[in-house]
Symmetry: C2
Subunit: 211 residues, 2 copies
Amino acid sequence: MGETGSAAEGRGRTRIQRLNQARLLDAALKVFSQEGFRAATLDQIAAEAGMSKPNLLYYFASKEEIYRAVLDRTLDLWLEPLRGLDPQGDPVEEIRAYIRRKLEMSRDNPQESRLYANEILRGGAVIMAEMTGPLRALVMQKAAVIRRWIAAGRLAPHDPVHLIFAIWATTQHYADFDAQIRAVLGEDAGDPIEGAERFLQQLFIEGLRPR
Amino acid sequence: MGETGSAAEGRGRTRIQRLNQARLLDAALKVFSQEGFRAATLDQIAAEAGMSKPNLLYYFASKEEIYRAVLDRTLDLWLEPLRGLDPQGDPVEEIRAYIRRKLEMSRDNPQESRLYANEILRGGAVIMAEMTGPLRALVMQKAAVIRRWIAAGRLAPHDPVHLIFAIWATTQHYADFDAQIRAVLGEDAGDPIEGAERFLQQLFIEGLRPR
DNA sequence: GTCTATAAAGAGATAGAC
DNA sequence: GTCTATCTCTTTATAGAC
């Protein structure tokens, strides 16, 4: 039996099913991230996956189901950089590493960034539970870490939650507003994220180092 | 004749026409800013303006025409804060005032912010000319001002274009990602922008003051 | 599992009465 | 100027053959 068994297996159990699901999720990420939920079409997603539309609907029963599946698959990835902020590490170095991880995320996973940007712009109803639950909890936990660092005189005093917002905003900007950044910098300017890394490290570290 | 004359007047010339156009543009801003171009519907816009769909199409010949009209109407407003950066002023005080104006814009005009965010997320094709033209020119002009301030030792050395990007990102974040910010901060937390103002002024000023 | 055909609803735009 | 009715195309989803 094993993976190629055919009877009595739920959706996604055989090798070909997992492959097709993965192809569809990649295609859906691409389309949803550029268009947003409402404007994306199943035609686009199916075409991007090299599949027919009814076949897409064989794997995911509705447009909303594949949208949720894409969001779920990327949520963990999205929280990873902040999870990595180590309470035992050197404060300034930990913030520096967090900024670096977030910028890498904007460079390597811009579609995921835009997917969330689109969702939150619309009001974020679909991921509200994740935002008020795990996301909020994680932010509060790491904010407490930063507060302890400040109390110990190892960081300049700043509101830790707004600090996290500022790191999100500045780093994700290079994924979400890529079109504007390239339009302003011009085509020749090289990788915007390299310049961003130098600038942001300098700005945040000079602003955060205790004096 | 004057304003109430009825014959031989182009669209938008009479008082009632201007009123209806303004109502439609307000409604269109509201709908396009939350949904983006493709997902917004003329039904929503007409309903929001208390008008029938054919009547909307009497004032604006197509969906794209009203979308462009909304974008055009808000573009000037959008560039104002940066235009106000005074080369003759005190550098640190000018940056501080610029951040304040941008935060006021996020508080008072969040819909305009989301309208642009949606447009740029999709690739910004409709406003590409504005971005590579007037926007790019304005950014380059103000970057030169900042560079002169740095050369004169009146600001710490930073890449001025990425500095402008960082101010855009952090301030517009409070409009564009409002849903996430409220989810993380909780309902009780008061106006997020007040906390943002304190934090951002401190971060940027400490990062920029010459030492 | 995958396809063709199609039902059903949505949405942009037009016709024509008033 | 504004409305009702409608045309046409798109899009989600289903039916049913293979």
